[in-house]
């Protein structure tokens, strides 16, 4: 379930952003605490710097040089994660209800699965997330960010899994007493075998037609 152990391109670029921000945050925290210790322990040390300089350098310049590149980097990262770009990817419908997930695969002979999401490896997929009752959220931590399932709205999330394997997904928006157990399994198949695996009548989670 760890976001720090990414298995998809979206999760990886966000993990990179995290490690970058962690490095920055640790240095800034250290800076503030060292300054605090210094002004407490050596009163003369900080008095050499004029009051206005403290505020201009610390309060204005420091955040400016940290925040401007960070915001730019994060916005570029966000742009790259948006759905709807590139070649027309496969669409899978994820429908949330209290307290289960249903998945449909339009255009593939697989019909519908419940509690299990099948994905092809190495291919971008747009997940169309909807809800039939309250607000839920669709999240597979190792593959990428989350998106809310809001009744009356259709939200789209772009995901791409690197390699075949088993992952976990869950509902990440509080949705009543069944919230804690509203999880689903994710099975990533090799791209070539995806349609066939899904078409099998005994595919995991398959809802009989």
């Amino acid at each position: 379930m760890s976001t720090l152990d990414p298995a998809g391109s979206a999760a990886r670029s966000i993990a990179n952003l995290w490690w970058l921000m962690l490095t920055g945050a640790v240095s800034l925290f250290a800076l503030v605490m060292i300054l605090f210790a210094m002004v407490m322990i050596r009163p003369h040390w900080g008095a050499k710097v004029a009051p206005a300089r403290w505020i201009v350098f610390g309060g204005l310049c420091l955040p400016a040089i940290v925040l401007t590149p960070l915001v730019a980097y994060a916005l570029v990262t966000g742009e790259r994660l948006l759905p709807g770009t590139g070649a027309d990817p496969m669409r899978i419908e994820a429908q949330a209800a209290q307290w289960k997930w249903k998945f449909r695969y339009p255009g593939i002979d697989g019909g519908e699965t419940e509690g299990v999401l099948h994905l092809p490896a190495g291919k971008p997929v747009d997940i169309v997330v909807t809800s039939v009752d309250v607000i839920h959220a669709f999240w597979i931590p190792r593959l990428g960010g989350k998106i809310d399932a809001v009744p009356g709205h259709r939200n789209v999330l772009r995901l791409q899994a690197d390699v075949p394997g088993h992952y976990q997904g869950l509902c990440n928006e509080f949705c009543g007493i069944g919230h804690s157990r509203m999880r689903f399994d994710v099975i990533v198949h090799p791209a070539a075998e995806f349609s066939a695996a899904l078409a099998k009548p005994d595919a995991a989670g398959k809802v009989p037609q």
């Binding site: 401007t68 915001v71 730019a72 916005l75 742009e79 948006l82 759905p83 709807g84 770009t85």
Partner: protein, 126 residues
């Protein structure tokens, strides 16, 4: 910070003098009100544009125009206040008000650029 030895004698006339100066407290909020207005305008333009299917260019240029109008407004306010509060002679209260009003105007200008500027470069409706 002079400590007076005699208390100021207060008559109705001195009170009137004080009333005439720097009594417009709301000016402290003007700078960031312009920012709030700019944000609301940009957010509304974006929603309306995406809902009614404006072309990317139309949406982009209208956002740019909204931002520019508000920046220009702050510039105009700057000039007005610079004239209104003449550099000396100023009472302590006037110089304080001038400093804070100008400070909020500069801060609001930067905030508009920083918060709304990125909108000119991003994908519009996804």
């Amino acid at each position: 910070m002079k400590a007076k030895s005699q208390p100021e004698t207060l008559t109705n006339s001195t009170m009137k003098v004080h009333k005439g100066q720097a009594c417009h407290l709301w000016l402290l909020a003007v700078g960031f009100s312009v920012w709030a207005c700019a944000l609301a305008a940009a957010y509304v333009l974006h929603s309306v544009g995406c809902t009614f299917g404006w072309s990317t260019d139309t949406l982009r240029w209208s956002l740019a125009l909204a931002i520019l109008i508000h920046l220009a407004l702050i510039g105009a306010l700057w000039r007005t206040f610079a004239r209104r509060f003449p550099t000396p002679p100023l009472s302590q209260t006037d110089s304080f008000m001038r400093w804070v009003i100008m400070g909020t105007l500069i801060a609001a200008f930067i905030t508009i650029v920083f918060t709304l500027g990125p909108a000119l470069f991003l994908t519009t409706c996804t």
